[in-house]
């Protein structure tokens, strides 16, 4: 085989992408970088602040330490309230999300209208953040943990309802038919045929949501909806950094602990 022949048979250039593909890719990259830089400009970020950011941060840390351990007495009650808000909110969600999930599942809803209503509730609930729900419920119930509990409930309904509805849509069709064939009423079919199949998922998502809610309820106080957020907010506003340090450490402990509990329980029930 001559050299030319060899070259003809086996190309010496190999590219993963065609030039066109490469071009398109670089155009995308350039576009993204451009938009990012343009956004930075639009936001009018005061770059000067960054010059002494490390000083500021160091200053903050120095002030947080040593933490004011005596303050922990005042942290404890709001911390417990935070856990209550998350737990009660999740418990209410457990009760409310249930019927809504049945309405939003194609195979258990009554008609198109009820399905649409169910879906609408789920979507509304999910697209508004817990803290924003907090704002709304504080406007209704006044500041305090009641608003917080409702905020947690309002946000979690969408989360749990969606997952439960998906589970309901996946139940075994044959089982449902068999129960229907015995002459069972609609409610009996739900209770005997559907519920046992989705119960593990309901428990799993509830516990999972509970641990998310613990984290969410730590900030509800910022809008006045109870929990540890209230004293955190006031300590920050008073620049009482040694108190802030204690509060943050305690939040940290509770959140990590709840995550651990939630994971352990979920592992046991599935």
């Amino acid at each position: 085989m001559t050299v030319e022949e060899h070259a003809r048979r086996y190309p010496e250039v190999w590219r993963r992408f065609s030039p066109r593909q490469t071009l398109v890719r670089y155009a995308w990259y350039a576009g993204i970088v451009f938009v990012a830089l343009w956004s930075v400009r639009q936001l009018e970020i005061p770059w000067l602040y960054f010059l002494d950011a490390h000083v500021q941060a160091a200053d903050l840390l120095v002030r947080m330490f040593p933490p004011d351990w005596a303050f922990i007495e005042q942290v404890l009650d709001p911390l417990i309230e935070t856990i209550h808000i998350a737990t009660l909110g999740t418990a209410f969600t457990f009760i409310i999300a249930f019927p809504i999930a049945f309405l939003s599942a194609r195979n258990t809803t009554y008609n198109d209208l009820t399905w649409l209503i169910g879906r609408f509730i789920l979507v509304t609930s999910r697209s508004v953040n817990t803290v924003v729900w907090g704002l709304v419920f504080v406007a209704i119930f006044g500041p305090g943990p009641v608003a917080g509990i409702w905020a947690i409930t309002a946000r979690s309904i969408g989360f749990m309802g969606k997952l439960i509805a998906e589970a309901i849509e996946e139940v075994d069709e044959g089982t449902i038919e068999a129960i229907e064939a015995t002459g069972a009423s609609r409610l009996q079919v739900l209770w005997i045929g559907v519920l046992p199949q989705v119960l593990p998922i309901i428990w799993g998502t509830s516990i999972y949501r509970w641990d998310i809610n613990i984290r969410e309820s730590t900030v509800l106080g910022f809008v006045g909806a109870g929990g540890i957020g209230i004293i955190l907010y006031s300590s920050i506003n008073l620049f009482a950094w040694s108190e802030v340090g204690i509060i943050i450490i305690s939040i940290f402990v509770v959140v990590v602990f709840s995550e651990f509990v939630s994971a352990a329980v979920r592992q046991r029930i599935t």
Binding site: Q42, Y49, G142, T218, F222, F252, V255
Partner: protein
């Protein structure tokens, strides 16, 4: 001769908790918890009982939503989107080194622990807490918001990246190492091709999440539409609040749709 068998007429389903005492104890505990929690939370019941009429009043004042100050609305939404985008962009970039350091099968032990520490701490604190601290340090405005979302994106993407790398089949790493490749070459040939699609997918998801969170960090003064919302609530401007809420829901929707579309195309 054997008589016809006698069958029982009672049957109880076996309970999850077999001992009845334990079962009753469990129920009692639950009831006690409810009593305790309702007893300890401080509630101004008279204020709460006025809630329902107030809710009616609130909703009547929300309708119809007031879009007349749409310029403020558009500016707020635009700022939120820009905050989300900038935060995702930089978060995505910085997440790479941290994610690599947080992968047990790549990084030496001390570096691994440090990187994991950063991820755990930033992940545990709620964005709003981070936001308020940044507001105190850098003042009101979008900078605090961008930094908050940046930190959140950073830890989220880094965690995902690290987990993906740890779950990589060891074979492909070893095969490339066996060719005598140096660490940078290992990165380019073994890790990048495997990780890139997931990394991009997670980043796009995070952009969508940032869009959602950008609406709340404003509540503590960190810029974006949330700040406008908080102000309207404080001024009892409820019809404007509803307009903002509608805008937020629309924004979240578009974000979710867009993110799903891009992730679909990446695959």
């Amino acid at each position: 001769m054997s008589s016809p068998p006698v069958y029982p007429t009672r049957w109880k389903p076996p309970s999850l908790i077999s001992s009845p005492a334990a079962r009753r104890g469990f129920v009692a505990l639950a009831v006690l918890y409810l009593l305790w929690s309702f007893g300890t939370i401080e509630v101004d019941w008279s204020r709460v009982s006025r809630g329902l009429p107030r809710a009616a009043d609130l909703f009547s004042r929300m309708f119809p939503p007031d879009f007349s100050r749409w310029e403020l609305l558009v500016k707020g939404v635009g700022e939120s989107v820009q905050m989300a985008f900038v935060a995702s962009f930089f978060g995505m970039a910085v997440a790479v080194p941290i994610g690599l350091c947080a992968a047990r099968n790549l990084a030496p032990r001390p570096i691994y622990l440090a990187a994991r520490g950063i991820i755990v701490i930033t992940r545990t604190l709620h964005e709003v807490i981070v936001a308020i601290i940044f507001v105190k340090v850098f003042g009101f405005g979008p900078l605090a918001g961008v930094l908050t979302l940046f930190v959140a994106s950073l830890s989220f993407i880094a965690k995902m990246l690290a987990e993906d790398i740890e779950n990589m089949p060891p074979g492909s790493l070893e095969a490339i190492r066996a060719t005598g490749a140096s660490f940078p070459k290992l990165l380019v040939y073994a890790i990048t091709p495997q990780m890139l699609p997931r990394y991009l997918g997670v980043s796009i998801y995070r952009l969508d999440a940032n869009l959602r969170h950008s609406t709340v960090v404003g509540i503590v003064g960190a810029g974006g539409i949330g700040q406008v919302l908080q102000a309207s609530f404080n001024r009892y401007d409820y019809d404007f609040s509803l307009a903002i809420l509608i805008a937020i829901v629309a924004l979240v929707f578009i974000g979710e749709f867009f993110s799903a579309w891009i992730r679909g195309r990446l695959r």
